[in-house]
Symmetry: C2
Subunit: 148 residues, 2 copies
């Protein structure tokens, strides 16, 4: 009975640990992506953002080049052309190695901006791959729900 | 000891049940959204798609109206103008009540099509809310990774 009890406790502990670890990793991934996003897209601070990148950064956004250098070039472009750009994350999700953000990005204050979804893949808690879709927010939508 | 054992087994069963339920619900949500998406966007079959809708359908896509009627109108438009439209789901995610799809949608065969991310919220396994961002796939991307 003692052995059975130990077995039950071990199973319970293992189940808890495995699941807690998964949840903790997803939470950590989400926190890392949110910090990365704020450093990059709001503070336009490449050095701060680069700390969240892994050993490579595979870019699926068709206007940006791969790697940390691609991000650097993009932030340099934003700083020069849209220094007041601001991105609000309105929803965030985590599933395994992936973090997904719904974002309202306004490059010039007072304009309608873009409705974006970003998908990031992480390895060991670091951002290594990125996909997105960017759509301008229209002036006259067919419903009153906003895009967010 | 017997009471303790029962307590441990009950805790184990409850923990397992609660987590299994979460996972099963996320899996069921993802399966429902994939079936909904295929019925709507590939088969253009409103009746088949409508079975996956909940008692309301709040639409954040700025070109569509709320409700099942909004979906019906959209599918009628696609049938009339793009009867050969096809959407490939290249990635799918589930987080709680939300399912997220990465999609390559080609309305006219042979064209580059659109890179889309769709976000669905479900209640009781039924689709009740939708957001998306739609971006044309460009001819000359800045990297060779495709948008998918």
């Amino acid at each position: 009975m003692k052995r059975l009890m130990l077995g039950v406790f071990a199973a319970l502990a293992l189940a808890g640990a495995a699941r807690a670890e998964e949840t903790a990793q997803e939470k950590a991934n989400k926190a890392a992506v949110l910090a990365f996003y704020d450093a990059a897209l709001n503070r336009l601070d490449f050095e701060a953002a680069a700390k969240y990148l892994g050993p490579y950064y595979k870019q699926h956004n068709p206007t940006a080049a791969d790697g940390a250098e691609g991000l650097k070039g993009f932030l340099t472009y934003l700083k020069a052309n849209f220094p007041k750009t601001h991105s609000d994350v309105t929803m965030s999700f985590a599933d395994g190695d992936y973090v997904i953000l719904r974002v309202h990005a306004v490059r010039t204050p007072g304009t309608a901006g873009n409705a974006i979804v970003d998908i990031f893949r992480l390895e060991n808690g670091k951002v290594v791959e990125h996909w997105d879709s960017v759509q301008p927010v229209p002036d006259k939508p067919a419903n009153n729900n906003t895009m967010f």
